[in-house]
Amino acid sequence: MSSSLIIAWIYASPLSTAIRDILWVIPTVQSIHIIAITVLFGSALISDLRLAGVFASDEPLRGVVRRYYPWMRNALIVLLCTGLVMIIAEPDRVLVNSTFWLKMALVVTAFSMTWLLRRPLMRPASHAGSDDASRPVKALAWLSIGLWCVVIICGRWIAYTI
């Protein structure tokens, strides 16, 4: 009841109408969204593969993780902003779409995992020695690569599902 009122209100707002009326806005915002996906997923892949121990394993783990985390966080901010523009433009297609809500739940899960896996590594090392990740961390790193893939798939499917 109330959610359909909110959707109708967003849809009729001057901002929503303007985004739909200026034809280049949606494709441009979607293109920026994809560029940000490449930055987030590229950085996630590199640092998760390092966590898993199969990429650049002769480089210190902390260095790799600390190098790429800011790119992931900034890309996420761009993704949330461009995503918001798409929601405002077509709330009637997005906010009632179950694939969209699944994607949002997966984004929260994947980024929480990203943060939990990296948080212990963000401070400078207090002791020298092996900095190889433990087995559960390695497994979670693989899982998070998989989760980001599912997020991308869900994103594409929003356009095809109700």
């Binding site: 494709p27 996906i37 892949l45 991308i152 798939i153």
Partner: protein, 162 residues
């Protein structure tokens, strides 16, 4: 030479028909295409930024390129395969799509840019491997590559809107 009869014949094959008419084949190909794009641009951007002087997880440029290039190639081949399959399904309309044609043009320019780099500055990489900023030729190649591949992503998204 008229290419339309050939594209029509390809479009009439059972594989092309299946991709066009099954509800899930096309969005699934698109999803894999986007994951491929994310790895291609995500890894290429890391190398391009290094060519511009932004350091990544390796001190030397050569080691970084050797780390990332295999991922770039596997992802690029994935994009070509999924792209060709999508093209087969609707070839007759794609060749009339301006965004598609410009995308193919930019892809070619990106390839030429990469070839120029590999035959030029890359041959002398031992001289500037850890030098910051890298030589002018490498910086120009990195900058052009970042722009050209971003253009490829933008035009790819625009295909659906023309």
């Amino acid at each position: 030479m008229d290419i339309q009869p050939l594209l029509q014949a390809v479009q009439d094959t059972s594989v092309a028909t299946l991709i066009r008419e099954s509800g899930s084949a096309f969005p699934m190909l698109e999803s894999v295409h986007v994951i491929g794009i994310a790895i291609v641009y995500g890894t290429i951007a890391v190398v391009d930024l290094r060519l511009l002087g932004v350091t990544a997880h390796r001190r030397g440029a050569l080691k970084l390129i050797q780390d990332l290039l295999p991922y770039t190639w596997v992802a690029f081949v994935t994009c070509v395969i999924t792209g060709l399959l999508m093209f087969c399904a609707n070839g007759t309309t794609y060749v009339q799509n301006t965004a598609f044609l410009f995308k193919m043009g930019l892809l070619m320019l990106a390839g030429i840019n990469m070839a120029v780099f590999h035959l030029g500055a890359f041959r002398r990489i031992a001289e500037w491997d850890t030098q910051l900023p890298p030589p002018r030729q490498a910086r120009v190649a990195g900058f052009s590559s970042l722009l050209l591949w971003a253009g490829v992503v933008f035009l790819g998204r625009w295909i659906a809107f023309l």
